[in-house]
Symmetry: C2
Subunit: 256 residues, 2 copies
């Protein structure tokens, strides 16, 4: 078994709305001294995907609903920001002073609907007013990057789009998958036996989340200086995959 190697790719320029992200990522990979091989995974932070897709919103342009005002009063956040959070969400799970946790319309549970302010620079006005929404459909974004790089390199790869989420019960954020193409989000161990022949109790491994956490560790939190990570040695066979595999159905979730 080969080692798992995660290499930071720095040679990706600051991304602007409308940029051809797949091409810029491939250029960054080429500038590194890496070979892209069959089975490799390219991990991309959601932030540069969102920027390329022009997912910037200026708070001065937001119409605040009564519902947003109500939640904003509870979580003590800017009602315009809360309005954006609600527009991006299916449901509010918790709202307390300082915190609003939602089910994003993509299906995952996170704070602030993943809307971020750090490293965001808008085209006009007060920079404090610009917010960045998550990519419109991260699986589609991942598939576009995968298809382009595969076509250019003739290598069979996977693409993972990640964000950082807080968790129940534990302190700190970890990288998680929000979009995927070409490799398994979840690996099913059902039917496999252990060394002594017992059936395994643990049946599903969230492989894409484990890889997201690994990549997040070397991307860090502070900047876009490392927006892309190249992964060699992913231990499972590649296959088609979609983010919803990682979403626990609401009626089977005991912690909502």
């Amino acid at each position: 078994m080969t080692p798992l190697t995660l290499t930071p790719i720095r040679d990706v320029p600051l991304i602007q709305p409308g940029d051809d992200l797949p091409a810029l990522i491939l250029e960054g990979l080429k500038k590194s001294s890496l070979d892209i091989e069959d089975g490799d995974i390219i991990v991309v932070t959601q932030k540069i995907v969102s920027k390329a897709e022009g997912r910037l919103v200026n708070l001065t342009q937001v119409q605040v609903s009564e519902r947003a005002k109500k939640y904003a009063a509870i979580c003590e956040k800017d009602p315009r920001f809360v309005e954006l959070v609600l527009q991006e969400s299916n449901e509010v799970l918790r709202c307390r002073p300082g915190t609003i946790i939602v089910e994003h319309r993509h299906g995952f549970v996170c704070a602030n609907a993943g809307i971020d302010h750090s490293n965001v620079k808008g085209p006009w006005g007060n920079q404090e007013d610009w917010e960045l929404l998550l990519p419109k459909d991260p699986d589609v974004s991942a598939e576009k990057i995968r298809a382009f790089i595969q076509a250019q390199t003739q290598k069979k790869i996977g693409v993972l789009i990640i964000d950082s989420h807080g968790r129940a019960w534990r302190i700190g954020t970890v990288g998680v998958c929000i979009g995927i193409a070409g490799f398994p989000a979840v690996v099913d161990m059902r039917g496999q036996s252990d060394m002594f022949g017992y059936k395994l109790r643990v049946t599903q491994v969230a492989a894409a989340d484990e890889l997201a956490a690994a990549a997040s560790l070397i991307m860090g939190q502070a900047t876009e200086h490392i927006p892309v990570v190249h992964v060699h040695g992913f231990p499972y066979p590649l296959r088609e995959s979609h983010f919803p595999e990682l979403v626990r159905p609401k009626d089977l979730d005991m912690f909502r």
Copy 2:
């Protein structure tokens, strides 16, 4: 920035109660062709730590309490097994058919108090009756391994003991830290600014959990064939650390 490289260490024998685990791990590391360097992290699956500590229990020796009978009826598990779960726990968070989720006495929330049956072989009787409890104090276990390897190699390293946990909201298990020595469990970003000078919203990164997930990805779930992973390129400075840094205080936890 160097790549993050995780190398599986296979040359660790099947562990028996009373084995000198730190020595066997170092032997396994030496048999690989790796150099151990300052800043490297050694990741160890909880299972071999538990085995070396003799944490095997035979269900036929368990006295079942009324409380265990009550929970066993709800979750439809063996009352003797549920008794062990309760003895290992501070509190039951959820009990439903097929599932019992507890706060382990070590502070983390997990199913079955982390008690495992796969790859467990007891010294006598029906093998189905043997269960393996988590290590008695994983931080102490980690520190013993760290101290031994440091003394023998004169290199400053960290040690991480991991298990696989399910999560709220998301499908599948991921590797998590349950014991740590010599490197940061949580990295605090407070006060740091992004590229454009904004203070970061995300302030704490669960670095040890991210590394646990990475190592878990290459250890897999099925066997003890890869009980140890060597990590080179961990991106943060080493320091003393303890598992409880990762535990969200109960009164700040909105999902219990």
